[in-house]
Amino acid sequence: MEKKIIYIRDTDSAQKERINDYFTLFSNELRDANLLEQVQLVKVADIGLYEKGVAVKIIPENIVYSGIKTTDVKEIVEETIRGGKIIKDLLCGKKSKQLRAVLKNCGYIDPESLEDYIAAGGYKALVKVLTEMKPEAVVEELKKSGLRGRGGAGYPTWMKWNFARGMNSPEKYVICNGDEGDPGAYMDRSVLEGDPHSVLEGMIIAGYTIGSTKGYFYIRAEYPLAVERVQKAIDQATSAGLLGNNILGSNFNFELEIRLGAGAFVCGEETSLIASIEGKRGTPHPRPPYPSVKGLWGKPTIINNVETLANIPLLIAGGGTKFASVGTEKSKGTKVFALTGKVKNSGLVEVPMGITLREIVYDIGGGIINNRDIKAIQTGGPSGGVIPQEFLDTPVDYENLGKLGSIMGSGGMIAIDDTDCLVDLAKFYLEFCVDESCGKCAPCRLGGYQLLQILKKISGGNGELEDLNRLKKISYAMQKASLCGLGQSASNPVFSTIRYFEEEYKRHIVDKKCPAGKCKALISFKVISEKCKKCGLCMKNCPANAITGSREAGYIVDSQKCIKCGVCFDVCKFKAVMKE
């Protein structure tokens, strides 16, 4: 018999011991069947299935069984391992929901090696463009592909490139936007660090298409490793003749340079970014004129997100039609998300457009920690909104997320459960935007500050019902009147949390309660004397000496002294401390 491996995993993390019982059972059966020599039994930490009980995967056949009962073990060993037969009832039809296209090289090749990138098919798209495609043909391919910008707004990439291409100017520029200031997002960093040459290749193709000879990588200074790898990639490409004059023997010249972003969120906005490269203060300008007409140093400029550019080589190599075969009607290709928050497996995922939020959270993310219920999903970071649990079956694309009051954004995705307070979440994002506002225009500068004060008032227990209307009014004014995207979208988290979770706001305002127990002014801690075993642990651990009492009399919390740190709640082994 061929050597086999059985991977075994209990997908139900609550039952810690059970896996060892199954392991012993399997070992015994294998021993009885005299198969120990041929079969390796391995406990694994993840088998790609969730909430399906005990699961095994049998290699090389790649058979996955789930929901295995102890009584099934003997049959599995006899029938499948020895007999090579599949037990249909246990079979688990499982397909990977991820689709790695942009990330196909990430984690696969050595990002510091040009040879590795070429060996994986790199720079073939560039050769194709230089030898057999006119700029118009590249634009045509982009149009067929339906690729839209991955930096937030989802503007069709072909249109941007075509405008710039059509401009009659001896000087034009290509900029890669690697500012990624959205808290919680790190997709672009991963691409720059894991596969820098793919972004380079995208930029060189962009340069050829619009007729530019100079490009800039704008990368935030907080990403030193990304900067180092991109610089290495530029140096390698330059000495190999992939950058510089007469690239690959053609008459096309192109060079690249890195500019460091100073870490302001607003510098990711295209007009500020351009000002920043010009050495001016990074503040936005009104558009139009758009950068494709009048950009860097007043010349036609295209500015694209890292992930948008990393899509270019695979789009050109495989053709626009093939690219467009993945996705929904108006959103094509894949999208990379940084999945975080209360999911079991946080991480970087790449999925086809059109996948549902539920599939991302449950089938890829493994569901919510401790199997709690999901309350909502936040997408788009400080410019985005929340999508409540009822809409989890929505296919992810630009239009759908927009309709629900959120945005695709650059790809942050946070799972929220009942232990998260949405007023607190809105406050967190608003605080971020108020800090990051450049202050140039009044709606953003003053409106943001006002919104934040009202949210603080509500979470502090002083809210009035009229505040809800004030929030909505100010939000609306900011959306309409702010100069740049920061101010226009800063109120989205407020708007969308009120839209779906007005009740939760009202609990804060009317009942003066925070259901999630997050807003400190609205919670109090109490020792429930019936449950208290008088161990004194809470008193010992309270940093504010707010708990008094003795082993005879029991313990009480002095609400005046309590700083609401929650330590007593966490340390009590008998759940005798109540938080409400």
């Binding site: 491996i5 930490a45 060996a119 720079y123 991963s190 660090e193 991480g347």
Partner: protein, 114 residues
């Protein structure tokens, strides 16, 4: 570096890319390094030499399972390719001895099976 020509690029067939039969890859992006990937990488190199274990040890970027870093992918002839997560220096040594030398997979650290 010598200049690369169109032909050099055109003649590559990525589907035939041969990474070799025995290799280890360590995820070395910012998050991996923050979780201790460079220590793991250094330990693998040092220990492999000390123990006379011949294996190609390389760096790579994000493998996606960012919450269980450091990540180490191992491919050894005769065994399927696996991704180990939460790898420490000790685990790295065990990978060399148990997985690479004795061709036995480690328990409890495998996060992805191919």
């Amino acid at each position: 570096m010598k200049k690369i020509t169109k032909e050099d690029i055109e003649k590559v067939d990525p589907s035939k890319k041969d990474l070799g039969k025995n290799w280890i890859k360590v995820g070395m992006s910012t998050c991996g390094v923050a979780a201790g990937a460079d220590e793991v990488y250094a330990a693998l190199i040092d220990e492999a030499k000390k123990r006379n274990i011949e294996i190609d040890i390389r760096k790579c970027g994000c493998q996606g399972a960012c919450s269980v870093e450091p990540l180490v992918e191992v491919n050894v002839e005769g065994l399927p390719k696996v991704l180990y997560g939460r790898v420490t220096k000790d685990v790295a040594v065990t990978i060399l001895e148990r997985h690479v030398r004795n061709k036995k997979l480690l328990h409890d650290y495998i996060f992805e099976i191919n």
